[in-house]
Amino acid sequence: MITNPKDQITSSQAAVAVASILVGAGILTLPRSAAEQMNTPDGWIAVILGGLVTMGIAAVLVKLSQRFPGKTFYLYSQEIVGKFLGYLLSLVLVVYFTLLAGFEIRTMGEVTKSYLLLATPKEVTMIMMLWVGVYLVVGGINPMMRLFEILLPPTVLIFFVVLLLSLQIFELDNLRPVLGQVTPLFKGVQTTSLAYAGVEAMLILTAFMREPDKAVKAVLVGIAFPIAFYVMTMVMVIGGLSVDLAKLTTWPTISLIQSFEVTGIVFERFETFLLAVWILQIFTTFASAYYFAALGLSQLFKKNIHPFIYALLPLIYLVAMTPKNVNDLFKLGDLLGYIFVFVAGIMPPILLAIAVLRGKKHGPKA
């Protein structure tokens, strides 16, 4: 309905998009939050379990979307639960995406301020990135997908090489005992699941897919990437820094890379490379959230998307500037986690159940 053939994306693009959206702020913070919650070095197991849970959630999301080919959540939610409730749920999703965009931008601003540009006000870096985001988002979904495809391979390459370099301070003992206590694992899964926030993008992306029946496969492949990223991060960070140290540092992954030097090659320190690709990945998450929020508004009000893109810009900036400090920022992250549980974990199964019960299906007209 909203998608003309030009706006279709391939299955591999959808997978890349899911991977790019999911990999975001979590890379730098996940080891700390997991260690705080669990107090055991089993974070990597929790990450895998969290990923599996996310895969289950994603399957439900996709199944729901597949019942309404060519329609995004904003349109079909009204068909399932009626106009008013559908509107409300869609608005929740729009708000969630706006908050997410602001959160990512602010996280980027904080990290840049503390590691790259010590003297530059973070407002400058954030506004610059917002404008770059506008430039991308006005182009629509296809350029976004292509950009994600360009950025993913260098990210994977640089990220893994840099993390592997930390093997020199890696100590297996830091990861032991494996499964010494099982109970913290449940707490851990709760935390790590939040790192996969972004999977609800499938509520919208499925509508754009050329072959929607391959959506499940695409999303599972897409989630496999962040699982690999996060497991690698957890293992290397906990192994390199130990649980106690990981708990104490704000951005444990950067601290890990900062804690060693490699001599003999051109560069001695590598956190810049990590930060560079991380900024790229933050940008992909931010841009997607931004686009989905604008798309939601435009579809709810049945207007052209461009005014909404520009209207959202100051809103996202306001959201980004609201937290007073890093701790506030992480509280915003927690809030986002709760909404994520609602929009991805609670709402879709209920909607799916209603849709099945009411026999709502927007297939080929019978």
Binding site: L117, M129, V132, L147, E149, T272, L280
Partner: protein
């Protein structure tokens, strides 16, 4: 009803008869279109009309004579210097004496004189007839000759163009170590024949266009019928038909008039002087545009990977080809980001480079009064000036300028403490890198963008460089060239096209034409 039908057929019959008898035809044409159409009756006035249409210029030749086989006046109109004198003489000889020994018909004018002349007299290979003086005049200016004969309503246009042109030489801008030495020249027909010789296949199709309202020029669109995506040909044709300009001096005009995005720094059409390059592009399923008067042919659609390719990648074995490809990608990166990365390291993140290097950089920068951005800007601008100056001078002088500029000024600038030696190294490596890019236009694009990257680096350090990289990538993925995404084959992922991307896989393995071009016939091999 039936009556009307009868009338109609009668009319047609009438017209047929008029064509047969010249007397009636004269009357009809005279009465219906007296001004425009040539009145066959009044030969001298027709000639006058021709003269006013062509304007009396010293290089226009009006040669009046009498036909040898009939007592009729005739005239040849041509432009001196654009026509083949020998051929004209041959033609006139045959017209004046030709069939005198064997008089075919006592009254050739009574039968169709045009057919008679075409079939039995004229030795020219291509003849066509036009009916208005205006059309004839236009043809005359492109080197054709107009033949007017008393009593014949049409004007015959004889194919006699011949002019001095440069011989085919090795292309200067695209010299290869290995590969054909032949490049295009300024004559369209020569270039077309060169392409024909490269691709001996009836599938090779040429479509003619005349471009330019005041001064017309011939333009040819070439493609392989049955391979190329007809959508692309149609797109090229609609864009060419939209061109509305008085004159096109060079194919660069065409390029700028039909490109997708005139704000983009990247070239969206490829220009080349090499016939082999055009031939392989055509066989890949691309479209070529050749313009008369320039050796530079245009190839569409363009993807950015083409800008980093050279025909040699394919002529050499694949190891060498792949290595050269990878080198060029690296070179493109250095050429784009070299100075900006240096600037951001030196002014924002000195802690990230090895301590010893940081110390030595700081040591050499001691006494340099400017921030590294200004320092880099001075050197970059100096290099651009040197390049520009050396470009137009005669070769020996150009080399001297390079030597004097590069060595003497560089050395002096360092001694004088205006720039640091490391900056000279960085800028020189960058400059050499940008010259290693096989496409001149792509090199220019990267050089322009390099200044943007330097600016971002000066403003925001590595974060700025990352943002600039993002900006370029975004522009890249938004850009299209004739419906094909500019960033292909990198994205959207098409693994089969990656065989000819960063690596140049063995030709044995490249069995299909590029998928991104949606060719009608993908099979290349096997």
């Amino acid at each position: 009803m039936s009556e009307r039908k009868q009338l109609k057929t009668k009319k047609i019959g009438n017209r047929d008869r008029t064509r047969l008898s010249p007397g009636q035809a004269q009357q009809q044409t005279e009465s219906s279109q007296p001004a425009v159409t040539v009145s066959p009756d009044d030969f001298s006035s027709r000639l006058e009309l021709m003269k006013t249409e062509i304007k009396q210029n010293p290089d226009v030749v009006f040669r009046r004579f009498k036909l040898g086989f009939a007592n009729l006046e005739a005239a040849v109109v041509l432009i001196d210097g654009l026509t083949d004198k020998d051929l004209i003489n041959e033609i006139m000889k045959s017209l004046m004496y030709g069939v005198a020994e064997t008089p075919p018909d006592p009254q050739p004018a009574a039968m169709n004189i045009k057919d008679f002349i075409e079939e039995k007299i004229l030795p020219a290979s291509k003849i066509k007839a036009v009916s208005t003086v205006k059309e004839a005049a236009e043809e005359v200016f492109t080197g054709f000759s107009a033949l007017l004969i008393e009593g014949m309503p049409e004007i015959l246009i004889l194919e006699t163009p011949s002019w001095k042109s440069r011989g085919m030489e090795e292309p200067v801008t695209e010299a290869l170590v290995r590969g054909p030495r032949l490049g295009f020249n300024e004559t369209l027909s020569d270039n077309i024949s060169l392409l024909r010789r490269a691709i001996a296949s009836p599938q090779l199709t040429f479509v003619d266009y005349w471009i330019g309202k005041t001064a017309k020029k011939k333009l040819v669109v070439a493609y392989m019928d049955g391979i190329v995506d007809p959508e692309i040909v149609r797109e090229v044709q609609t864009r060419l038909e939209r061109i509305d300009i008085d004159h096109v001096p060079e194919s660069g005009y065409i390029e700028q008039l039909i490109e997708d995005n005139y704000l983009s720094p990247f070239p969206q059409l490829q220009n080349t002087e090499r016939a082999d390059r055009v031939a392989s592009a055509l066989l890949e399923g691309r479209v070529a545009i050749l313009l008369d008067g320039t050796p530079f042919a245009l190839i569409v659609p363009v993807t950015f990977s083409m800008l980093l390719q050279s025909p040699e990648d394919y002529y050499e074995r694949w190891f060498a080809g792949s290595l050269m490809r990878m080198l060029r990608f690296a070179v493109a990166f250095v050429s784009l980001f070299g100075p900006s990365i240096y600037i951001s390291f030196v002014s924002y993140h000195p802690g990230l480079i090895p301590t010893k290097l940081a110390l030595s950089i700081a040591g050499t920068r001691e006494g340099v009064p400017y921030p590294s951005f200004i320092e880099a800007l001075i050197m970059e601008v100096a290099i651009e000036i040197l390049r520009e100056a050396g470009l137009r001078l005669p070769k020996p002088v150009g080399q001297t300028v390079g030597l004097v500029g590069g060595l003497v000024i560089g050395e002096a600038a360092v001694r004088a403490g205006i720039v640091s030696p490391i900056m000279v190294i960085v800028v020189s490596i960058t400059a050499i890198s940008s010259f290693a890019i096989p496409q001149y236009g792509a090199g220019i694009a990267l050089r322009i963008l390099r200044f943007g990257a330097m600016f971002f680096a000066a403003l925001l350090g590595l974060y700025g460089v990352t943002l600039f990289f993002l900006l370029i990538c975004i522009h890249f993925v938004k850009l299209k060239s004739f419906g094909v995404p500019y960033a292909s084959p990198a994205v959207p992922y098409r693994l089969s096209d990656w065989k000819d991307f960063i690596l140049r896989m063995p030709i044995l393995m490249m069995k299909r034409r590029p998928k991104m071009l949606h060719t009608k016939n993908e099979v290349r091999k096997g």
